[in-house]
């Protein structure tokens, strides 16, 4: 009740100014580069006042008041300025042009946030929105008008208001917050000196408007009879700031009052302009509206398409099975990402949730990043900043949230349908957390690898500098030749990153002992007995297990082949049922493969075992890892490197909060589906147990055998449920009597599969009862 938008957002790191934690509008203005960060209150007030003056000037210059036109004496040149003038620059020309644009803007505005209609639909608010959009379009004709002609181009400003409205809303909330504070600490705003009270008319105008706002807010829980605080210093620092920010006698007087109802329009314009223009940073929302490639882009693709492919690239590193599934279905990223990016996820979330997402987006720095190797042209220039990385990571986080649901789709249509209807009940906090954990990876891949030497080998010098708002001119290497060959760009990138991975392996070997230590516990658990039991595993799991067994028996070289074979499995798909089963198992096996990369093991172990004191024998895993990394066959290079990257990601991941399992489970809508997410993770222990079958079982490990087996049994059960649900689905889909041939085909496969599943169930029951 107190605040319409409780600003309980996770604290912004770094430059976040905790003074304004309660004032999102101020916070955002700092993050958007409108207000200086960590400046004094006076400084903030001065900058604010200047910005407001500028806006007022622009508005006066560009918006024509019809009243003014009627007053003919005001027109200096009646030949030019008459309503029939053909001169587009005449006052009347401008007036008509504006009116046309205004009409279109209005059409968009009436569609704004129905759930907050009470605010956005008020005439005052609509007027503000309209003027801001109108002015922005007038100042940026490239987005508002077709070149040369004064014909309105429908192209771009259609959705701009959806970017503007949240900004306005945030400012509005700030003002409301302010009025609450004012109510409580009223006497600080009063001009009481020595019992001599000034009449209210002496107070600044703004106070009156605030009072009006205050009166509206009657359901306020603040108590007026709060203990009197005699001096400002006794107030909390936050309240103190608010009082200082809103003191009409402070710097710039009324014009400098920070959250001010009167200047909401001015402030919103500044924010909108900064958001659209990117304030010399990488992410400039306006670019997402242009169909033409950004200057200097060597891909020749529109920025929003570039950003979409960056999103898929990140996804391929994070979750290669989901990525390849989408690619195989032909679901190109721009189909859904266009909408996600253009309005910064505004269509996918409710306003309150959206604000917390924007908190994070804005909190991330928007400085273009070009670490050392400026010549490393990425095709994702738009997202080449921490902010861009976060946006990309957020999108991937959303995809991961839908993971199981998407993996269950069999054609582009149903897949897209799910993507275009992002569940409203998604847990935004978790999505954000996940996105944060992916951000550094996103940044790393979108910018360039920090190791300059291999990068030099793949010099791709760029005209990136030409991209208008480059802040990084200092780090440009002008000598590098211009090389526009786009071939196998990502392959190179993989190679680069792969090398880095190897370097990391070497240097951080010691640090990894720890994970290795844990890993061995599991290695010791495996025994030949397990293998015998597996013989009973049905046709579904046999695939994974055989792959795994192979690697366990034949050592490192096979290891690499293993991962590649599983990814070929991934890419080969048909439409029948058996394949369906395979697909779900493939998803599991691919993450099992990531076991090859050690850090992953750690994460898994952490999940599996609680007991830290167990014998160590990390040699096997270490050597096999190294050799597997070193002995990649030529034809395996691409795949393997991808695997390594996935592993790397896993490693990064552990810094993020919350394991994958919990995250995805929590947020999932369909119970049956959510179990299939767990699937890919849970299956890993099964196979990794087999990995270490050669190791001697220790006494301590024995104690854990039972627990592990139980866990295995448990995870098997879950996997079985997933497969069953897939089967169920399939059955429903081909239930038609008419589709005879199909049903027969399906029937055969199903009988087999069901039988296999029964067997599996038995085994898993035994296991979990141990």
């Amino acid at each position: 009740m107190i605040s319409p938008a409780p600003v309980e957002v996770l604290k912004v790191e770094g430059e976040g100014d905790s003074r304004f934690i309660e004032l999102r509008g101020v916070q955002w203005r700092i993050h958007l580069g409108i207000l200086p960060c960590s400046a004094s209150v006076d400084e903030l007030r001065r900058v604010t006042a200047d910005a407001r003056r500028r806006y007022a000037g622009v508005r006066r210059r560009l918006l024509v008041d019809p009243q003014f036109l009627k007053d003919e004496n005001n027109s200096p040149d009646r030949v030019m300025d008459n309503p029939l003038s053909q001169n587009p620059d005449s006052m009347w020309g401008r007036f008509f042009r504006n009116a046309e644009l205004e009409k279109m803007v209005d059409q968009d505005l009436s569609r704004l946030y129905p759930e907050h209609g009470s605010y956005f639909q008020t005439p005052a608010c609509q007027g503000i929105l309209r003027r801001i959009l109108l002015l922005w379009c007038l100042r940026h004709p490239e987005y508002g008008y077709r070149q040369g002609k004064y014909i309105i181009n429908m192209q771009s400003h259609e959705w701009m208001h959806e970017l503007l409205a949240p900004l306005l809303y945030v400012l509005h909330v700030d003002v409301r917050r302010l009025s609450e504070v004012r109510k409580v600490y009223e006497h600080h705003y009063n001009d009481n000196f020595d019992d001599l009270s000034f009449p209210e008319s002496d107070l600044v105008l703004n106070y009156k408007s605030l009072k009006v706002a205050t009166e509206i807010e009657d359901g306020n829980s603040f108590q007026r009879n709060e203990a009197k605080i005699s001096s400002l210093n006794e107030l909390g620092p936050e309240i103190q700031t608010i009082v200082l920010l809103t003191d009409a006698y402070g710097a710039e007087g009324e014009l400098g009052i920070l959250p001010s109802e009167r200047f909401i329009e001015h402030d919103a314009y500044c924010m909108f302009d900064a958001l659209m223009g990117g304030a010399s940073g990488a992410v400039a929302m306006a670019e997402f509206f242009t169909p033409s490639p950004s200057i200097g882009s060597h891909t020749g693709l529109p920025p929003v398409i570039e950003a979409s492919s960056a999103l898929y690239h990140l996804l391929s590193l994070v979750d290669s099975s989901l990525h390849s599934h989408l690619v195989e279905l032909g679901v190109e990223p721009q189909y859904f990402a266009l909408r996600w990016f253009r309005v910064l996820f505004g269509r996918e979330f409710l306003l309150e949730d959206l604000l917390s997402i924007w908190d994070e987006i804005f909190a991330s720095d928007n400085c273009k990043l070009s670490l050392g190797a400026e010549d490393e042209e990425s095709n994702v220039g738009v997202l080449q900043s921490p902010r861009g990385a976060f946006i990309s990571a957020m999108a991937v986080s959303m995809l991961l949230h839908l993971r199981s649901s998407l993996l269950a789709t069999e054609n582009a249509t149903s897949c897209l349908q799910r993507l275009l209807n992002f569940p409203e009940n998604a847990d935004v906090k978790k999505l954000i957390e996940k996105a944060k954990s992916l951000q550094s990876l996103a940044l790393e891949t979108s910018v360039c690898c920090p190791d300059p030497s291999p990068v030099g080998a793949f010099d791709r010098s760029k005209s990136k500098t030409a991209r208008g708002h480059s802040l990084s001119s200092g780090s440009i290497s002008p000598t590098t030749p211009l090389n526009l060959i786009p071939e196998s760009y990502w392959e190179k990138k993989w190679r680069v990153l792969h090398k880095e991975e190897e370097v990391q392996r070497g240097s951080t070997g010691k640090a990894r002992r720890h994970p290795g230590k844990r890993h061995c516990q599991r290695e010791q658990l495996g025994s030949e007995d397990d293998f015998e039991k597996e013989e009973y595993y049905g046709l579904v799991l046999r695939r994974i297990l055989s792959v795994k067994r192979l690697s366990a028996h034949t050592g490192s070289e096979e290891n690499s082949r293993t991962s590649s074979s599983s990814s070929t499995m991934l890419s080969s798909r048909a439409n029948d049922l058996e394949n369906d089963l395979e697909r779900s198992s493939v998803a599991s096996s691919s993450s099992a493969d990531e076991n090859d990369v050690e850090p992953d093991k750690e994460e898994l172990c952490v999940g599996m075992h609680k007991d830290p004191d167990l014998p160590v024998s990390d040699t096997i895993s270490d050597t096999s890892d190294k050799s597997s990394a070193d002995t990649i066959g030529k034809q395996l290079v691409g795949t393997k490197e991808r695997k390594l990257l996935s592993g790397k990601f896993q490693w990064l991941w552990k810094f993020g909060k919350g394991g994958e399992g919990t995250f995805e489970r929590g947020g999932n809508t369909e119970a049956s589906r959510s179990s299939s997410i767990g699937n890919s993770q849970k299956i890993v222990p099964v196979s990794s147990t087999l990995d270490g079958c050669g190791t001697l079982p220790g006494d301590t490990a024995d104690r854990n055998v039972m627990g592990t087996l139980k866990n295995i049994g448990q995870s098997m059960l879950e996997n079985i449920q997933v497969i069953e649900s897939v089967l169920q689905q399939e059955r429903n889909q081909v239930g038609s009597v008419e589709n005879l041939s199909k049903s027969v085909l399906v029937g055969k496969g199903q009988v087999k599969a069901v039988a296999a599943l029964k067997e599996l169930r038995k085994i898993s029951n035994i296991l979990s009862e141990m």
């Binding site: 059409q107 968009d108 009436s110 569609r111 129905p114 429908m154 192209q155 771009s156 259609e158 959705w159 959806e162 169909p291 693709l301 529109p302 929003v304 398409i305 492919s309 032909g330 190109e332 721009q334 189909y335 859904f336 266009l338 909408r339 253009r342 309005v343 269509r347 054609n411 582009a412 249509t413 897209l416 349908q417 275009l420 169920q728 689905q729 429903n732 889909q733 081909v734 239930g735 038609s736 008419e738 589709n739 005879l740 041939s741 199909k742």
Partner: protein, 215 residues
């Protein structure tokens, strides 16, 4: 999961909606697929689509209707949008002559991107706004005849002719498809009935490759 009835169909037809921004494409779609109309619907960003299964000439047809923002000029989107489309509903607003004038532009767009055999239907929407009419029915009718398009006027708001428009275009597509099927050396007609295998799934079947790769 019990979407049984929805999953059984003889054919799957992809139909695209095109036309200027604000002519009511999204509302035609929602009226047809969900029998809904929203005065304050948000403008489409990128693509959206919906499906509906219905009976056309005794066959169960699953219509997959794609809707895109009228101003989407991204080739990476448009190529996918038109790929595999068997029909196109070219919509204009009867109250806005400019949207009718732009019809020829949209026809060109179709010729550039869509299959040459695509069935096109011209739709004049918003007939409920009688007092605002700016495009005469006869003008549109004669234009449609000249260009070889079928033509109908609709009101998504009042649900007038929407069903008929879709029925007509789906029927036309069906006739063309079934003719094709007969002329090609398909075996016994019974196997045709086996449905799914014969589904004219738009996605990958199209031979026409987009001129630029979208990735």
């Amino acid at each position: 999961m019990a979407r049984r009835a929805d999953e059984e169909y003889d054919y799957l037809f992809k139909v695209v909606l095109i036309g200027d921004s604000g002519v009511g494409k999204s509302n035609l779609l929602s009226r047809f697929t969900r029998n809904e109309f929203c005065l304050e619907s948000k403008s489409t960003i990128g693509v959206e689509f919906a499906t509906r299964t219905l009976q056309v000439e005794g066959k169960t047809i699953k219509a997959q209707i794609w809707d895109t923002a009228g101003q989407e000029r991204y080739r990476a989107i448009t190529s996918a949008y038109y790929r595999g489309a068997l029909g196109a509903l070219l919509v204009y607003d009867v109250t806005k002559p400019t949207t009718f004038e732009n019809v020829s532009r949209w026809l060109k767009e179709l010729r550039d991107h869509a299959d040459s055999n695509i069935v096109i239907m011209l739709i004049g929407n918003k007939t409920d706004l009688k007092h605002l009419r700016g495009v005469a029915t006869e003008d549109a009718q004669s234009y449609a005849e000249k260009e070889g398009l079928s033509f109908i006027e609709t009101s998504a708001l009042e649900a007038i002719n929407v069903e008929k428009a879709f029925q007509t275009i789906l029927g036309e597509i069906y006739r063309i498809i079934s003719k094709k099927t007969l002329s090609s050396d398909e075996p016994a007609p019974t196997s045709i009935k086996e449905g799914k295998t014969l589904v004219v799934e738009g996605s990958e079947a199209n031979t026409k490759k987009p001129c630029c790769s979208s990735t």
